[in-house]
């Protein structure tokens, strides 16, 4: 009996390990920045959004993982097979745009983190772009991925800091369930950004592709489902602590985040004068990890959808579209960050907002496909989960619409943001 339990645990851990990559990569430059700004600017007023989002994230990731396990195909392939070429084109354009925005935000994170050490972005960004490109195409990426994961322990710093700063836990817990906030463009922008950084278009493709590559069968799926749910929980727990920490250290003193070093102050309760350095290393690590994964995700998806050769160990001649797309995404991402005078924090937030706006397109495909019995057999999504998933999509769409409306109204009435 004990041996069986130990075998089961070992089996589960074997799959869980690499799955944490997905959770950690989800907390990228965009995540750290968005939640820092959210906490600093609005205190705990976005916690209720985060709580709802955690449920949504679990639901949508589970849908992606289950679809991958049952069909053995990626999301892009399924869209192509069931909606035809034209629709696939639109979906891929949306994905490419969202991923390009995300890549820009990752390199912005690299620039911001190294600027804390005084390295100018004109130096840090090209080197980082070249390093990421080389690491991935030379295939040593896998080893480095493990190093990235190790450095991801950095997030525990937020947990420690959050505990040390002794926030008003009563208020924090209340903010879990009491919605608050304003109908201002600033607040709504934050809401859409928070949505876009938690549930990402690339994340939806990633979880499904990951499950397919792991070769998870429907019988083995329950273990994977646990892993997916756990990852969602861990990711958002970290996000929560980022909000709590910045709210308790910055918001209470009315400090706004203009640049990365402002956000670093949230770690002062834990690290004191080393807070800047600690934050910089963590942000750099998060940005590099995501910068390796996200451009790859879109290149793979596009080639899968249109039947072009793909693979990191294929040369430019063997897989021209794949390599070209990947290289272009990295290059454009790096170049855009180098535009003179670019406000890094602002750019990162904008990228998350773009993700939030484009998210419903991808989500709706994923939801609808998972519901079809001819694709999923008896593993098709149940009615309750499907309804909840649709509520998520609807919530995202309304937030984006509200943002657009309120912004336009504000512009028309001549009142600024």
């Amino acid at each position: 009996m004990l041996k069986l339990l130990r075998l089961r645990l070992g089996f589960a851990l074997g799959i869980v390990g690499p799955g944490l990559i997905a959770a950690m990569a989800d907390n990228d430059a965009g995540g750290i920045t968005t939640f820092s700004v959210a906490g600093a600017t609005f205190g705990y007023q976005l916690v209720w959004v985060l709580v709802l989002l955690t449920v949504s994230l679990a639901i949508t990731q589970e849908i992606g993982a289950r679809t991958g396990a049952v069909t053995g195909k990626g999301l892009a392939a399924l869209i192509r097979e069931n909606y035809g070429v034209r629709t696939t084109l639109y979906a891929m354009l949306a994905l490419l745009l969202a991923n390009q925005a995300t890549t820009v935000s990752e390199f912005a994170g690299v620039a911001a983190s190294l600027e804390i050490f005084g390295v100018p972005r004109l130096v840090s960004v090209p080197i980082a772009a070249a390093a990421v490109w080389l690491l991935v195409t030379r295939g040593t990426y896998k080893l480095v991925e493990r190093v990235f994961l190790l450095f991801s322990l950095f997030y525990l710093a937020y947990v420690a800091s959050g505990v040390l700063v002794a926030p008003p836990w009563g208020e924090v817990l209340r903010s879990f369930v009491l919605p608050s906030g304003e109908l201002s463009p600033d607040y709504l922008l934050m809401v859409v950004a928070v949505i876009g950084t938690t549930i990402t278009p690339w994340g939806q493709f990633f979880v499904q592709a990951y499950v397919v590559d792991k070769g998870v069968t429907p019988e083995e799926y329950p273990v994977t489902r646990l892993e997916v749910l756990a990852s969602a929980l861990i990711t958002d727990l970290i996000s929560l602590f980022i909000i709590v920490t910045t709210a308790a250290t910055l918001h209470v003193h009315g400090i706004r985040i203009e640049e990365a070093r402002d956000a670093a102050r949230a770690l002062a309760p834990l690290a004191g004068p080393a807070a800047q350095g600690l934050f910089a290393i963590g942000l750099l690590n998060a940005s590099l990890l995501a910068a390796s994964i996200v451009p790859l995700s879109s290149a793979y998806a596009v080639c899968e959808a249109f039947g072009w050769e793909a693979g990191v160990n294929r040369s430019f001649r063997e897989a021209p579209v794949f390599n070209g797309l990947y290289t272009a995404t990295v290059a454009v991402g790096a170049l855009l960050v180098l535009l003179p005078g670019l406000p890094l924090v602002g750019v990162i937030l904008l990228a998350q907002t773009i993700n939030g706006i484009l998210l419903p397109i991808i989500l709706i495909f994923a939801l609808q496909l998972a519901r079809r019995p001819e694709i999923m057999g008896r593993y098709a999504t149940g009615r309750l989960q499907h309804a909840l998933a649709w509520i998520t999509a609807a919530g995202t769409i309304s937030a984006s619409l509200l943002l657009v409306i309120v912004t336009l109204v504000g512009l028309v009435l001549g009142s600024g943001g």
Partner: protein, 414 residues
């Protein structure tokens, strides 16, 4: 020549010219090389779908499709088991191209008119086909942008992926099996694990074993995960015991045990013996299938003994001469054995000086010895000089060169 994508969505009229519905699918027999269209799917305005036999349709000179009789009087087509629904099951799906041994995606299907019927001729897997589906082919070609078209004859298409039931083989399995294992492995490595397992299951055990041997170890394990214990055991029995031991060694212990239990007892014993040695040593890479003869027989008798043992062994390079306690005394190459005087004694014609390696030595040393002495196989002995196994030159090459070219899992997440 009409393309299927151009036909889909076309209106179908009745004799009076009123639109009855739209053409939403085309049905062809799956087992024929260049099949004619047997029926179409007609979707009426209220969403109902009917299968209309091709014989009930008329195509006018200007490509208008109409029903010969009113819809209610038109007989419904009963699909046969091998029938393929082109839009639902073939278009936009992945297929296996035997000649290119690649897995490609169907962008369009080409039909041709012969004697009043439509015949499926080829599959368009090229980028222009994609552009045509998007309506961009003509505008782009007017701009001077011409991309090479690529079509694959329908006859060369061997398998179509269809639904959660897996790969549907269009033609008898013998066709796929006629390919070289390295080519089959290339195809399988481009499918996902689920469908790759399907293809493996369709091969006979020997072919499957050869194919499996072409993969990198992690993919071998993944492929076998898709099979049940009996199927896996059948395949592993056909593999050389050292290869089988490598695969089983990489699996979860309980699964490996289950497969070993399902294997033939003697084969299982050989494999278990090899599993007992540490990886990366001579014992870990050797095979325990080899041919031996005693020293005191004649060459003619030895050839007879070799003939009896040869069927069970993988490759035959050398014949080892062993004493009654399995101690290694000498060696003969197959060529030397055949050219020797049939009445001579083996002891007199064999090589007495042998290069051997101890079973515990590291695999790099094994490779170096094989390279240094230009051997095809190196005998592995214990400290009593008893012959335990041999390491063949192909395994030595694997040690020297990285396994980079072997078939790997196709994505980044492994």
């Amino acid at each position: 020549m009409p393309f299927v994508s151009e036909l889909l969505g076309r209106p179908v009229r009745d004799a009076a010219g009123r639109i009855v519905g739209k053409l939403t699918d085309i049905i062809v027999p799956g087992e024929v090389d260049y099949p004619t269209v047997r029926a179409v799917c007609l979707t009426t305005s209220d969403g109902a779908t009917r299968l209309v036999p091709w014989s009930a349709l008329r195509v006018s000179g200007d490509d208008q499709i109409s029903l010969a009789q009113p819809l209610e009087e038109t007989p419904e087509y009963q699909p046969a088991e091998q029938d393929l629904f082109l839009a639902r099951q073939v278009l936009d799906r992945q297929i296996i191209d035997i000649n290119g041994t690649r897995v490609v995606r169907v962008n369009d299907l080409q039909l041709t008119r012969t004697n009043g019927s439509l015949r499926l001729v080829s599959v368009d897997v090229s980028t222009p086909g994609l552009l045509r589906r998007l309506g961009l082919e003509r505008p782009l070609s007017r701009l001077g942008l011409r991309l090479p078209p690529r079509v694959i004859a329908w006859q060369d298409i061997n398998a179509v992926e269809s639904g959660p039931s897996g790969v549907k083989l269009k033609v008898p399995r013998e066709d796929l099996a006629r390919l070289h294992p390295a080519d089959i492995a290339e195809i399988v490595s481009q499918l996902d694990q689920y469908h790759g397992g399907e293809v493996l299951r369709s091969l006979d055990a020997e072919k499957a074993a050869e194919t499996l041997g072409e993969f990198a170890p992690d993919l071998q394990v993944a492929m076998l995960e898709a099979l049940d214990n009996e199927q896996a055991a059948d395949i592993l029995e056909e593999m050389d015991p050292d290869d089988a031991a490598d695969v089983l060694g990489d699996m979860r212990a309980e699964r490996a045990e289950a497969i070993l239990a399902a294997m033939d007892a003697e084969e299982a014993r050989d494999v278990r013996e090899l599993l007992g040695y540490p990886e990366n040593t001579a014992g870990g890479i050797m095979t325990n299938e080899f041919v031996t003869v005693p020293p005191d027989v004649t060459v003619a008798e030895a050839i007879e003994l070799v003939r009896r043992q040869a069927a069970e062994v993988g490759d035959l390079f050398y014949i080892y001469v062993t004493g009654p306690d399995d101690r290694l005394l000498g060696v003969l190459s197959l060529k030397e054995l055949i050219l020797a005087d049939p009445s001579a004694r083996v002891w007199d014609v064999m090589h007495h000086d042998l290069v051997t390696v101890d079973v515990r030595r590291p695999q790099e040393e094994v490779a170096r010895l094989i390279a240094k002495y230009n051997l095809l196989a190196l005998p592995v002995v214990d400290e009593e000089r008893r012959l335990l196994g041999i390491v063949t030159v192909d395994d030595a090459i694997d040690i020297i060169l990285p396994v980079a070219w072997k078939k790997r899992l196709p994505r980044i997440f492994h």
